[in-house]
């Protein structure tokens, strides 16, 4: 017969100061791990919700990012003739785009942060499903007008409706704020392709082409045709996988965060071990009594292990509660792919919290195993005689 769980619960309540202190130690460790995971999770979901699996991003052969790619207008004309591209009326759904980086002062750094500026034509806006205006209107062709992503509007004091930004050869008026859901578009600035490319002296040195395939089945064929055509000299991948690969921006922080959590976890399991050893030592007579009553060694082992797990679970729950306020807070991370900042929200998802609880239980198991086996191995007579 197993020792009832209420025995362990009561013991934890009786020694509430020790219980709470040990649990708080575990909680902080879990909180550190969870905040890093929430950051990475937020960044991943921003990139994952960017781009459509039906669309193909075309860059110069060898280029791994839009920023280092170069495409001419001639290539664009040739690309449009390739079979497998969806049509909107008579026009193939293809968007020629220019990407560059501009610098604006932000709330965190008056020195200025880099932002992605994208020049495109109305066709390019139509191809971005789910992108809508939150305020104002789209930019007009041939005008120095820009539309900013909604995260930019909140993080950059200069980027506001009606104000103007200085870059290229002059002032650009902000005429709208766009909302791309969770996507990376929220950290970009859109403007007229021709106006922007002429401001940056790149009328024929554009960055990339976005194509929409007729259906999901033609996507691989379209990509193959583009990659194999030596005359075009381009490489193509789906828009979705291009953005997914950018999650590597979080790699340094992720590495640092995991490293720190693991080391903190070692310290916290030592602490849990200490608590459990003390708990075992103080209850020697109880353990002896339990044995006399007929509870088996295994039962005692399991009981003390469970107590340690309960203790760490409490820590895990507190840890989760500690990081909950982080949820949906906006932050920014610089990416070496785009050389600009992407804003995203911390995402404390249930899956992450489960990882945190699992991490806490792991610490509890490590910390509880030795004390529990010591408890189980106690000789009945010596245990009863101990003070």
């Amino acid at each position: 017969m197993a020792i009832p769980l209420s025995y362990n619960l009561r013991n934890l309540v009786v020694r509430k100061t020790t219980t709470l202190m040990t649990a708080l130690g575990i909680a902080l460790t879990v909180a550190v791990l969870l905040s890093v995971l929430a950051l990475v999770n937020g960044l991943q979901s921003a990139f994952k919700s960017t781009g459509s699996p039906l669309q193909v991003l075309v860059m110069r052969k060898g280029a791994t990012a839009e920023l280092s790619s170069g495409v001419t207008r001639e290539t664009f004309q040739n690309l449009k003739a390739i079979p497998g591209i969806a049509k909107n009326g008579n026009e193939p759904m293809a968007s020629l785009e220019m990407v560059t980086v501009i610098n604006l002062p932000s709330v965190d750094s008056p020195e200025g942060k880099n932002l992605t500026l994208r020049g495109l034509l109305p066709a390019g806006i139509e191809m971005r499903d789910g992108l809508k205006l939150q305020q104002g209107r789209w930019f007009n062709a041939g005008q120095r007008e820009v539309v900013i992503g909604k995260s930019i509007a909140t993080r950059y004091p200069d980027a506001q409706m009606g104000k103007s930004l200085r870059f290229g050869r002059g002032e650009w008026v902000v005429v709208g704020v766009m909302d791309g859901g969770q996507s990376a578009v929220n950290s970009e600035i859109f403007g007229d392709l021709n106006q922007i490319s002429s401001d940056f002296n790149r009328s024929d040195g554009l960055s990339s082409v976005l194509l929409r395939a007729t259906d999901a089945a033609t996507v691989p064929a379209l990509i193959n045709t583009l990659n194999d055509d030596r005359r075009l000299g381009v490489s193509a991948i789906t828009e979705k996988s291009y953005y997914e690969s950018q999650t590597s921006a979080a790699a340094p922080l992720q590495f640092l965060g995991l490293f720190i959590s693991v080391i903190m976890a070692i310290g916290s399991s030592f602490a849990a071990m200490n608590t459990m050893y003390a708990s075992v030592a103080r209850r020697a007579r109880e353990i002896g009594t339990l044995r006399v009553l007929g509870f088996s060694q295994g039962g005692i082992l399991i009981s003390f292990l469970l107590e340690s797990l309960l203790l760490s679970l409490l820590g895990g729950v507190i840890g989760c509660i500690l990081v909950l306020p982080l949820n949906n807070i906006t932050t920014g991370v610089g990416s070496f792919v785009t050389f600009s900042e992407i804003a995203f929200n911390f995402k404390v998802s249930p899956a992450i919290m489960l990882i945190g609880l699992g991490f806490a239980l792991f610490m509890g198991a490590i910390g509880g195993l030795f004390p529990a086996s010591m408890a189980a191995r106690k000789e009945i007579l010596t245990a009863l005689r101990e003070v």
């Binding site: 100061t17 020790t18 202190m21 040990t22 708080l24 130690g25 902080l28 460790t29 909180a31 550190v32 110069r60 060898g62 280029a63 791994t64 920023l67 280092s68 170069g70 560059t100 980086v101 501009i102 610098n103 965190d108 200025g112 880099n114 290229g168 050869r169 002296n201 040195g205 340094p252 922080l253 590495f255 640092l256 720190i260 080391i263 903190m264 070692i266 310290g267 916290s268 030592f270 602490a271 071990m273 200490n274 608590t275 050893y277 003390a278 103080r282 932050t331 920014g332 991370v333 610089g334 070496f336 050389f339 600009s340 003070v387």
Partner: protein, 390 residues
């Protein structure tokens, strides 16, 4: 106070397992704290070397990826205090298989006739220097890179361009030594221009200039003058000291400063909890004993001191072990591939200053965590403590 030291040590040896676990948990936490302090120190507090202090980097205000006209050089040279200006162009590209991070190292186009007078800390045999200046397709690498990649003089090094649409076939003509263990390759900018072709608009553009000033005091003024000169040009500049330039890569990743400070806070608080917990456990076990000690004539102050001292001894030992561990870890990080990206991490080390801070933190933790239990034990009346049963 010190005459009680043997008593403190004896006390801490009484429950060895507990003391060892406490020491262990203080040690790992302080090891972590030490590494974080070291990172903070090299990134944000490190000093520039004397040669570095004379240099500043001029780049496009937006980022290194955007270029400036090469004609800026003449204007920069006219700024008072400027000794020399060298073109410094990030090439990027890939060497062999880019998927292997080992193949990542910095590749720059530079000017062979100026590089050794601008970067005075670079040392190279005279014959190799001349070869670099003479051979258009020649390149030089740092000692650290040559060792890592196994490069020998005369090796062919082929780079496939990405930012620049050209492929370079370089020949290794020199290996230089420098104090910072950089992993870097330099080749002749003229070769890049030839490869691009004179008609390519990018052959008249450069990514950055390294400016050498006459004295370190001039750097700030020169930087401001240069930026003011080009503030209304199509390509505005940003000039900063070489050290600040290197740091901008680290801070680009995010608000690293805040991140490090928050984590340090969480770690310190966690150790405080852990050791306060242990100390109060061991004090509770000893209430009866404290009663006997008081009967024997130990004063409240004595009791307080003995308990505080015991806790301080335990956490100081933990702190010392933590420092040692941290020193090993820093060595490891400094030689890891990650350090190729952030130059400052190469000099990651536990300096005596950091060791002192770590020991100070552990002393602080030992004292603060035991002050409440110790105070409680010291104040309990003799009768109460003798009557107390565990």
């Amino acid at each position: 106070m010190f005459r009680f030291l043997p008593l403190m040590v004896k006390n801490s040896l009484r429950n060895r397992r507990r003391s060892l676990l406490t020491i262990g948990s203080v040690a790992v936490s302080l090891c972590l704290l030490g590494v974080l302090f070291a990172i903070y120190n090299t990134l944000f507090l490190g000093e520039a070397t004397p040669a570095q202090a004379l240099r500043l980097i001029v780049r496009h205000r937006v980022s290194l990826t955007q270029s400036m006209p090469v004609s800026y050089r003449q204007k920069i040279e006219q700024v008072p205090g400027v000794k020399q200006v060298m073109i410094w162009q990030w090439f990027g590209g890939t060497y062999k298989d880019a998927r292997d991070p080992k193949n990542f190292f910095a590749r720059f186009a530079a000017e062979p006739d100026r590089i050794f007078s601008v970067r005075t800390e670079y040392e190279i045999p005279e014959a190799q220097k001349l070869a670099f200046q003479r051979e258009r397709t020649g390149c030089i690498v740092s000692q650290a890179l040559a060792e890592k990649m196994g490069f020998k003089l005369g090796d062919r090094i082929n780079l496939v361009g990405d930012i620049f649409p050209v492929n370079l076939e370089l020949k290794l003509v020199g290996i230089f030594t420098e104090p910072q263990n950089e992993e870097v390759l330099y080749f002749n900018r003229d070769y890049l221009r030839d490869a691009l072709g004179a008609r390519n608009p990018r052959s008249d553009q450069v990514g950055a200039f390294v400016v050498q000033t006459n004295s370190a005091d001039d750097v700030a003024r020169v930087a401001k003058t240069i930026d003011d000169t080009f503030s209304n040009a199509p390509a505005p500049t940003k000039s900063e000291s070489e050290r600040a330039f290197q740091l901008s890569f680290a801070s680009f990743v995010g608000n690293l400063k805040l991140f490090l400070l928050l984590i340090c806070g969480a770690v310190t608080f966690t150790i405080l909890l852990v050791s306060a917990n242990t100390i109060s456990m061991s004090v509770r076990e000893r209430v009866g004993e404290v009663g006997i000690m008081k009967t024997l004539g130990f004063t409240q102050g004595n009791i307080l001191g003995i308990i505080l001292g015991e806790s301080a001894v335990i956490s100081l030992i933990g702190g010392a072990i933590g420092c040692l561990l941290a020193a090993f870890l820093c060595q490891g990080v400094a030689h890891s591939p990650g350090a190729s990206y952030i130059q400052a991490l190469k000099s990651l080390a536990i300096t005596p200053m950091i060791a002192v801070i770590c020991l100070g933190v552990s002393l602080f933790i030992g004292l603060v965590s035991s002050v409440f239990p110790a105070w409680g034990a010291a104040r309990t009346s003799i009768l109460d403590s003798l009557r107390y049963s565990g």
